[in-house]
Amino acid sequence: MISKLKYLTKISLKRKINTKWFVIANAIFAVIIIGLLNMDSIISFFGGDFDQTQIVYVQDNTNRTYDILTIQNDTYKNLTDEDNAFKLKKTEKSSEEIFKDKKNKDAWYLSIDNDSENYIKATLTSEGYINTSSYAGISTIINDTKTVIAMEDSNISPEELSKISSPIDLERKILDEDKKTEDENVQMIMSTVFPILILPFFALTMFLVQMVGAEINDEKTTRGMEIIISNVPPKIHLFSKVIASNLFVFLEAALLVIYAIIGFVIRMLIGANIQTGDFDISSILDMILKSDVASNLTYIIPLTIILMILTFIAYAILAGILASMTTNTEDFQQMQMPIVIISLIGYYLAMMAGLFDGSIFIKVLSFVPFISAILAPSLLILGQIGIFEIVIAIVLLIITIWLLIKFGMRIYKVGILNYSSKDLWKKMFKALKG
């Protein structure tokens, strides 16, 4: 019977891989992943302007602000590591004259005047909208310039001015023992990196459910099921689907990782080191490696993988049981909706995990099978739960799988040979009783 299980698994896997949609979908995934990882280079190739210095023409009607403004601009560049932040150019021309020249259509025009109450007042003119971070940047520089002017007018020495201007060394002390290892970068990781990792998990879960269901449904509606089940036990049949779908998901996950590696290799080969607006891949990687999360990856990754594999198995068994109860594809589409909703709840809870710091309700939800695979690791990274809680989630998942096999198999055995939707739930509850 083991050889039949192997064969059924092989055929099931082959039926998933030997399809046009698999090739097309993977071609699209490869293009998207490699493209996203090299988005900055692609935008540059097509003449993108995010990496270009923002030119700001400055009309200084105060005759002393421009020099201070330039110094503050340099300080801002050093503080933010943004080499290309702003390029200031002094001008005597009016804004109309500047914007007449088509070369200056992306430039800004800053007019500075004396102000009796606020030392200086400034007007910023541009052809189009200015993005929020750039506006914040230029505002910071102008405000700092105003501070310097105010200090100069108050006869504060440059040394004192330097002391006033230098940032305060803010030492961090965390009293909560559990959170001593947590650093502020974790919040950043949760908001940027984690969604990227859990989105494929969510997508793969949906793939898996759809595949198991569609295949069982196909065999059932074509009546091929009667021939198959007359030669192999229902348990072997379901296990072959579970194994094949999980192998498929691992293969797809491995392919996604390979596409990402190719993307990084291409990135290194073309020497891309350009910031893509507010999203800089290199700095995010640096951030992860410098954070305390990196040192905890040795147990976070294995535990997450175990949870994910067990969750995939549980989802596959559940999808198989539900598919066995359906008599056509439309029925299965409806039947899989609860699975999709459960998975979505897990996805959103994991995304918003940081917002519920300390919530016992969220901690309890992280134990719940089917959603624990994405919620529990996110709480672990945030330091809201420990390894012990993850082990509880794993044990609960194993118990769920055991229950699904023990009781779900009773439904499966009856369901796969049932072709009538009449009294369906009555039949299934009866089957469940054994």
């Binding site: 196909d218 074509t222 192999v232």
Partner: protein, 299 residues
């Protein structure tokens, strides 16, 4: 030998099959008949091990039907049981391996059968691209590819033209000659008469007729008399025990209540002119079926 011993099957409170028993030896072709919903499919499913009887046993050569012996069984279902997205070869290899065969073995046997059924060109075609008749041939091939010890054929001639029906008949006879136990169900009574020595007729799960076809016909009291010549039809109709008199193609079909009426009919026919035929015939299985089940088979 296949032994179905007193099997009963309940679906909840519904009695699908009630104390059914029969035996089929190697080389025999057995007919399992009944109108739709009589319990044939449930019986087939119990024989191949898909369903467990509520009581009673099914054994093949003394062994209960379980997954250790299902490799010896071939099953052709009434509805198409083919995975239509597969090619003919993929489908046959798939079912062949599930019956415990090696892939090479399946390929060799498949080539032989495809040639025999004159569809060797369809080997790499997808099932869904084939005509209904050719799909039925593939389904038949998947049922016999493992040279089954027990072959169950539920409506094997469905969708076939007369030429292919003959081809199937020959193959079924050949399999029986090789020693296979064959159980089959069909709407065509002439096929049952042609193939089956033994049969069972089910009605609402109950056995209403069972045994050797010859014995059944002999035991059946009503007979038919065929007469060719000029006879007094009204006089015959007046004989006590004559059920009906019909004239078809110059032949009178006289239905009588039992064999003893034949003498009275013969006396009247003797007074007729140009009598060239007088024969007492066994009733057809179709007549017996309709009489026993109380409705037409196709209903």
């Amino acid at each position: 030998m296949l032994k179905v011993d007193n099997i009963t099957k309940y679906y909840g409170d519904f009695l699908a099959v009630d104390h059914l028993s029969f035996e089929v030896k190697s080389g025999e072709i057995f007919g399992l008949l009944g109108v739709n919903g009589a319990g044939k499919t449930t019986t087939f499913r119990m024989i191949v091990g898909l369903l467990k009887p509520s009581s009673g046993t099914v054994t093949l050569d003394g062994h209960s039907i379980d997954y250790s012996i299902t490799d010896k069984i071939g099953f052709l279902t009434e509805e198409r049981s083919l995975l239509t997205k597969m090619t003919v070869k993929e489908q046959c290899v798939y079912y062949g391996i599930l019956k415990g065969m090696k892939e090479k073995e399946v390929s060799r046997e498949l080539d032989r059968l495809l040639t025999k059924f004159k569809i060797q060109n369809y080997k790499d075609k997808k099932i869904k691209e084939l005509s209904k008749g050719n799909q039925q041939k593939i389904q038949f091939i998947t049922a016999i590819i493992n040279n089954p010890k027990l072959l169950i054929l539920d409506e094997p001639f469905s969708g076939l033209d007369p030429f292919n029906v003959e081809m199937f008949k020959n193959e079924i006879k050949e399999l029986a000659e090789k020693g296979s136990i064959i159980i089959f169900s069909t709407h065509r009574m002439e096929h049952v008469e042609l193939f089956c020595k033994k049969l069972v007729v089910l009605k609402n799960g109950q056995t209403v007729l069972s045994g050797n076809l010859k014995d059944i016909k002999q035991k059946y009291r009503k007979k038919n008399i065929e007469v060719v010549g000029d006879i007094d039809e009204n006089k015959i109709k007046q004989i006590d025990g004559v059920i009906s008199v019909n004239l078809n193609n110059l032949t009178y079909q006289i239905k009588i209540a039992d064999e003893s009426v034949a003498n009275k009919v013969f006396e009247v026919v003797s007074n007729g002119k140009n009598i060239t035929k007088f024969s007492v015939e066994e009733p057809s299985l179709n007549e017996i079926f309709i009489e026993t089940v109380g409705e037409t088979y196709d209903k």
